[in-house]
Amino acid sequence: MTDSSSDSAATGELLLSLRGICKNFGAVSALTDIDLDVHAGEVVALVGDNGAGKSTLVKILSGVHRPTSGTIQVRGQEVSLPNPSASLAIGIATVFQDLALCENLDVVANIFLGKELNPLQLDEVGMEIRSWKLLNELSARIPSVREAVASLSGGQRQTVAIARSLLLDPRIILLDEPTAALGVAQTAEVLNLIERVRDRGLGVVMISHNMEDVRAVADRIVVLRLGKNNGVFYPDASNAELVGAITGASDNSVSRRAGRKAEANLTGDAQP
């Protein structure tokens, strides 16, 4: 009950905690008994093979899908996320893998979609200035914010989607494959940005297939495999360990032991 004092910057506070999340699509169990904790000032990387359930988990957190069972707690309070606006209102911003941009609108309109300044007489100049500032923060290479998004390249669209997620000063940012379509410089900028956001005391959940990126910024690496938790690693884990956990190729006592050790460390951290 201390959330009235704006202490989101206090590193280590438990922002988000999932317990026993299950999601079934018909007969398919996309997620089974997923547990996940995200602390303030922490980057959690979600890795796993295709079909491991990473995107499904993100969609549950962003209010696109509802979990079949399980609880979601945000800052100690149990919440339900029936729709995307509930998720946004609670401070969870998402950059979706398919970006979810409106191609017929320009960049400014997309960044401010759903939260336009001055709803009855749109403040176009104010929105344009804010958009440029957000984009410049990301060192974005957007030729013009008054062009329809349809005319932008994949990487530019990605930057727009990330800029949009930052607009509302969220507590938790979910990034689904944020660097997949980006060039070298933009990838570095996004990784810098993730670190800046973390240092501001936000919790970041990042999905990525790129182990280098994951290792570069993640404080904790959560592996999903076939819709189940398959171990928690730290950036110093070897590639073989990670790949083993992701693919299940070395699902043996060694990897299980590493996973258990990691869990034990984590729970030790969580209650200082």
Binding site: P84, A100, E116, V125, R164
Partner: protein
Amino acid sequence: MSNNVDKQQQLLDRADVRVKHEAGIGGAISAFLDRVRSGDLGALPVVVGLVVIWTVFTTLNPIFLSSTNLVNLLFDSSTVGVIALGVVLMLMVGEIDLSIGSVSGFASALLGVLWVNHGWPVPLAILGALAVGGLIGYIYAQLYNRFGMPSFVATLAGLLAVLGLQLYILGGTGSINLPYGSPLVNFGQLLTMPQPIAYGLAALPGIAMLVTGYRTSARRREAGLSSKSLGGVLFFAVVVTLGLELAVAYLNTSRGVPWMFALFVLLVVGMNYALTRTQWGRSMTAVGGNREAARRAGINVKAIYTSAFVFCAMFAALGGMLAAARLASASQQAGTGDVNLNAIAAAVIGGTSLFGGRGSAYSALLGIIVIQSIANGLTLLDLSSSLRYMITGGVLAVAVIVDSLARRSRVMHGRA
């Protein structure tokens, strides 16, 4: 923000060297040509079409361009034009309402029954019919949102059901005459603006362009953004004002500008503001462009659909009542025949895309003038309605082909 940054500091939105930035009037024109080439046609096809149609009809019968005939044209355009305005809303969100004709006929019948038969005061009868129209739209919205019924089917069912209602409330007589000389009928048939008022109103758009253009430019300069040259703003304002004043002067040589047309234009301008300058309008465009993206951005998509259905049916009801005032009667024929298709055709011909997410309130105005010009010109030539239907159908087909081709070209040029 430090003062030491050199004065030649680049404008915030002009930092990228790859983008061409056109300046001044010449720049505006070449940017326009560029847009057209890539399939962003805007109002161009309809303006070209209008010039062709007017040229053809004037050469066939010089009366067509006479002031008296044009005033008539404006009277006739206003009724279906208001209905087309509602269609623009539906097309914006990528849906359609096929029952607008029936709703307009039902509203006119309701007006007749409430006013003439039951002796309600006119304003109350109008409000009642508008409310019933809104209710019909609300029912469509519920069918769409709750049961996922395609708007095409829901409104097709509504077309029949509402027509049935219209015939039912008109009962055995089949038609109700609205009293001649009543303010509503005068409004629909006779009332035109006094000349000074017409000239004054025609000057407003130019003044508004100047004021908003100047204010926006000032704000953008202050904020370090590029701004339009004031010369360009002034140039366009003068062109628009001159054009409008000349048109008004020509209409004033006979009866002048109909008040009913002024009401229509007022609705168009208001709708344009709502669509382009409010959050609601932005949400409408977003829902039409990418429904799922709009939902994920936190927009209440169902509410947006509901607003589109309700406003469309209310505009249809209003248009139907204006048509009743124009004809001084509410009959079983009201709203049947080509009303439905004319309204939809007007919106499409005016440049609102059938595919959603693209359109403008002005397309209702431009489109209905094209449609009415054809109807009016063919009537002047004493051609039967069989030919009129065929030609209007042909023009609609051409408009849809232009829309589809332009859309394909936009996709190829990355303008979607």
